[in-house]
């Protein structure tokens, strides 16, 4: 048993100070989004206003509701991309962790090397290549590159080697199970929690991505939220009347991710070197 320790006021207040700093812009946008156009520039910051519903209907009316289009696009890019990335990475990570085969080290190093290539070095030629295939400015242009995630493959390999005992695979083989059956019946269920973590990280990465859709897309009907809000800011920079829309849009764009955060707490494991996985 550990004995009760006194409350450390210094560490506690330092942490609360950090928490305050991190929450500050979120609280600000929460209150600013409730202000009407006039209140935004006149009333005190951090005091709620009366314009929330006005702002929401203005935003929904802006260019026939294109904001909700962006929201749906983002959900499609992040949800679809993360789902496919999770499957591709888990299968690859499982193969790298549980099989010995010629070229294993080379394949792993090469795939992981993808983390290190600056995104712009890839994004420009990716755009040119997809344009040659007639896929630039389509949903595929954002979805397909998002499926490859070296970081997810790296995590999947850690999870597979930690979660799946070799003995279980051997026993399955002795019982005559095929390799694909082992993947379905043994590997996937045991990697389950790790796959949820991979999905979440990739979901956030795609949701937050700006460079790739910014380069790939020209038609604003296909924009995700990040690029949409950016164009709204560019349009609104000279018209403070649009500030309300940008602020309300910014608030709405972070609500889904914050909800995902608070509900999926236990899956946000960031043990990069697999330290806390019990084997």
């Amino acid at each position: 048993m550990r004995k009760q320790r006194p409350i450390g006021w210094l560490p506690t207040s330092l942490l609360l100070l950090g928490a305050f700093y991190c929450l500050l812009p979120v609280i600000w946008v929460l209150t600013a989004a409730t202000k009407s156009r006039a209140e935004l520039f006149t009333s005190q910051a951090f005091t709620p206003g009366t314009g929330l519903f006005g702002n929401l209907s203005d935003l929904s009316a802006y260019r026939d509701g294109i904001f909700w289009n962006w929201m749906a696009n983002t959900a499609l890019y992040a949800g679809g991309g993360a789902l496919l990335a999770t499957v591709v990475s888990s299968v690859a990570g499982y193969a790298l962790a549980k099989y010995q085969f010629p070229g294993r080290g080379l394949i792993f190093t090469t795939l992981i090397g993808g983390i290190l290539v600056p995104s712009v070095v890839l994004a420009v030629p990716q755009y040119l290549l997809l344009a040659k295939l007639g896929l630039a400015d389509t949903y595929w242009a954002v979805l397909l590159p998002s499926i490859l995630s070296p970081y997810s493959i790296y995590l999947a390999r850690i999870y597979a080697s930690a979660a799946i005992p070799d003995a279980l695979l051997e026993a399955g083989r002795i019982d005559g199970a095929s390799e694909t059956r082992l993947l379905r019946v043994v590997a996937f269920p045991m990697m389950g929690p790790g796959m949820v973590t991979i999905f979440l990280f990739q979901f956030v990465a795609i949701w937050n991505n700006f460079l790739l859709p910014y380069i790939m897309l020209a038609d604003d009907g296909k924009f995700p939220l990040t690029v949409g809000l950016y164009t709204l800011l560019v349009t609104g920079a000279n018209q403070p009347a649009l500030y309300n829309l940008v602020i309300t849009g910014a608030l709405l764009s972070i609500i889904p991710l914050i909800a995902l955060f608070l509900t999926m707490q236990r899956y946000w494991r960031t043990d990069l070197s697999g330290g806390s996985v019990k084997s």
Binding site: S119, V121, L229
Partner: protein, 308 residues
Amino acid sequence: MARARRGARASRAGAIPYLYLAPAIALFCFFVAVPIGYTVYLSLRRAKFSGLGLGKGSRKEIFVGLDNYRAAISDGEFWASWVRVLGYAIGVLVLMLGLALVFALLLDSATVRFGRFSRIAIFLPYAVPAVVATLLWGFLYLPSLSPIHDLLEAVGITGVDLLGPGTVVFSMANIAIWGGTGFNMLVLYTQLRSISRDYYEAARIDGASEWAIALRIKVPMLVPAIVLTTVFSIIATIQVFSEPVTLRPITNALSSTWSPLMKVYRDAFVTGDLYSAAATSIVIAVISLIPSLGFLRLVRRRAFGEDV
């Protein structure tokens, strides 16, 4: 430890592992290997116009060897952008990782209250896209809206322009620190939780203070995780793009080539000079390869033993 089991038996699976890796390898080829090859190809070429440069056939691509590289390397603006980004990156890395380490150690101390609340609050900015984070802070920096200005005026400081030529770098660094501290804190904190509590009890019995335990036991055991988060952060920070691009509409202090990546974007899509953009990209890649190679060595040794 999650090390791959040494001596995992060579199975008679034959083509199976290659089959499982095929989708990842195919995507890698199309979206990483071929684009890199294509960039190298473009970087060695240039458009040549004959006659007035009008009409079909007057535009030809020719091989120019290393000319584009010579132009990229001798471009003063390119190096100026590196100097700007390096100053910015050093500030961000030191403060962000320093704060992440301090917060992780504080969270792990036995005497802290409201730990769960603080942990979630500090991690929360990770859920905010860089573009949106820049929007939020950008509004907080605008004199007409900013509570920061009200606060500064209340203590007698007036006339500070948070988006001016001298200050915008700090304002931007603040956005990056705000966005990145929580994730790194969580990585370090998770690692701390996996250290056996017995070490601390033993040290306490020997009369060590909490400070001594943090500095002499916890920090040394965190070193691998600190190196890993540092390398990840270096790669992310020198690629800074979204923040300056998003801030540009509300400030005049950022040029269209403020960071090296912005220069590539401008060359490729605004000026339409793909060949220069390609050469510049390769130079950026080579420069960022230096921390990257260190990272690869680390991954191979740390996470998977020597079996790679």
